[in-house]
């Protein structure tokens, strides 16, 4: 074996963690770079996961313990990738953390920079940013955490309304695609609210619910049938303030009648778009991107997007945590195959 090869994993979410772990555990050097203070990415912000209501903090803790046990892996938090130079068989990457800049030579790169939620102020009719109780789904996860910790002190909301497809499947705003995971996390959030406060009414406004995955359909049905969350088919048109509450106007397209419901809180399941980090990385590295800015794949290749560049997780498209983890593993397999061939 010649000199040990090094892989650079950009992004410390669950996809990046998994990729770094598998490469490191196989005996190669790994640099895991994360821009935030701690690892965990979006997963760390979540109250629980679907379809088994698991606590994502447990998963992150388990993975981080493994990371710490592996001597080959160097984790660098609060570090950014500034630039990259392509060499014949490697990349010369400049890293910047709070105090110093550093240049490293790496033999492969895994991009796992994830996605972010669309800024829903684009949908003025829902009043996000104007009304206090209109939040996006990621903010609602924080609220769920808060409710769970101060359950006795919180006055339960009488009604919570969930809007799906805010931005997604919306050509007028430039997001014609389905963001894939909103149906599931919305069902989960509504189910969690019902679990915490059984007297709270939950309405989910949907066009159709897309539950393609193992245990997914059963999960959504259980939320509707057992937890008694009301699903209303129709895209809400307007949110208006009414006596300190929020009046929602929509059409129940199955009944063919306009409907109104007064809610205390509106949760917007916003479209997912490539994160700022993903957009930066696609400028720095010679990767393929699609028209929305998501990392695109090379034909006939697994998790490969450019010369010695691989990707994992939501930077290529919206994906659930389990899928992101699988992709991390697959990207690691590609890196390992490349390294083994060259030794």
């Amino acid at each position: 074996m010649s000199e040990t090869k090094t892989a650079l994993v950009i992004g410390g979410g669950i996809a990046g963690i998994e990729a770094a772990l598998k490469i490191g555990q196989s005996g190669y050097k790994v640099l895991l770079v994360e821009v935030a203070e701690s690892l965990g990415g979006v997963l760390e912000k979540l109250y629980n996961s679907y379809p088994r209501y698991e606590n994502p903090a447990d998963l992150i803790k388990y993975k981080v313990e493994q990371l710490n046990e592996c001597p080959n892996i160097t984790v660098m938090t609060q570090t950014k990738v500034i630039s990259a130079d392509q060499k014949p068989n490697s990349y010369l990457v400049k890293l910047q953390n709070k105090s110093e800049a550093k240049e490293v030579e790496v033999d492969a790169v895994v991009i796992a920079t994830g996605s972010q939620m669309l800024d829903v102020t684009s949908h003025g009719e829902y009043g996000y940013g104007h009304y206090d109780n209109v939040v996006n789904s990621l903010e609602f996860e924080e609220i769920l955490k808060e409710w769970a910790t101060n359950k006795d002190k919180v006055t339960p909301p009488k009604t919570v309304a969930f809007f799906k497809c805010v931005g997604s499947r919306d050509r007028s705003k430039g997001y014609p695609y389905c963001s894939k995971i909103c149906c599931m996390y919305t069902a989960k959030q509504a189910g969690v609210v019902k679990e915490m406060f059984p007297d709270t009414k939950c309405y989910v406004f949907y066009m159709d619910y897309r539950a393609a995955g193992r245990e997914y359909e059963e999960f959504v049905r259980s939320v509707i049938e057992d937890k008694k969350v009301k699903y209303v088919r129709g895209r809400p048109a307007k949110v208006l303030p009414e006596d300190g509450r929020l009046l929602i106007r929509a059409e129940d397209t199955l009944r063919g009648m306009p409907i109104e419901v007064t809610a205390d809180m509106v949760v917007l399941a916003a479209a997912l778009e490539p994160s700022a980090g993903t957009k930066e990385m696609s400028n720095i590295f010679p990767v393929k991107t699609d028209k929305y800015g998501f990392i695109d794949y090379e034909t006939n290749e697994v998790m490969k997007t450019g010369e010695r560049i691989y990707y994992a997780g939501a930077c290529s498209f919206a994906v659930e945590s389990l899928g992101a983890m699988h992709q991390g593993g697959a990207a690691a397999a590609q890196v390992l195959a490349l390294f083994n061939q060259e030794n």
């Binding site: 509707i224 106007r249 199955l254 109104e260």
Partner: protein
């Protein structure tokens, strides 16, 4: 539905207040018939396959939807209640196994109990006569049933020659149906469950 003669100020599409919906009938169905309408996928397979949907004023799926929306009062006046022949095609095809004929039955019972007039009086007459036969003899005597029905409705020769006589000569209708044993058992069931007054 709006027509050309209705005034333009009429409130046809006044918004339904979702949080004020009365779901007691849906609960009643669950308690009394064991039918959980929350399992409905709203796919419309029931209406699509319904043998009588061409003469329904609202389809089977809409019946379920109206119950879920708490609009039972208007539902009880609907024609579909009385045009449904309980052929069971809907429940046979329903992916959620929702027993729509049982719902229809239950709705007819409620309408009868609350003296809401049936849109098809003859259907009600037929129902009463047929159940009367079962109560009396434990089974239906088709010949007599047809005769009584014609006498009641005043259309004396309806179906008498064709197909009545044809069926008789082919041996399909027996005017003298043998009586059932243990008739008092069926009568007891009727006594326990009947909605009839007096």
């Amino acid at each position: 539905m709006p027509s050309s003669t209705t005034p333009m100020t009429a409130d046809f599409f006044k918004a339904i207040k979702l949080d004020e919906i009365d779901n007691s009938f849906q609960q009643e169905l669950l308690d009394n018939c064991g039918i959980d309408l929350n399992t409905c996928l709203e796919c419309g397979k029931c209406s699509g396959g319904c043998s009588n949907t061409h003469i329904f004023d609202i389809t089977a799926r809409q019946v379920v939807k109206l119950i879920k929306m708490g609009e039972v009062d208007s539902l009880l006046k609907m024609d579909s209640l009385w045009t449904c022949v309980s052929c069971q095609l809907c429940v046979d095809r329903c992916p959620a196994s929702i027993d729509i004929p049982r719902i229809m039955d239950y709705l007819r019972e409620v309408a009868y109990k609350n003296q809401i007039p049936a849109t098809r009086e003859q259907v009600l007459v037929f129902h009463e006569l047929m159940l009367g036969h079962i109560e009396k003899g434990g089974r239906v005597e088709e010949g007599f049933l047809a005769m009584e029905f014609n006498l009641k409705t005043g259309d004396y020769f309806k179906d008498v020659f064709d197909p009545g006589m044809k069926m008789f000569f082919k041996g399909k209708v027996n005017p003298f149906t043998p009586k059932m044993k243990k008739r008092d058992e069926t009568r007891r069931i009727f006594k326990m469950t009947s909605l009839r007054k007096g």
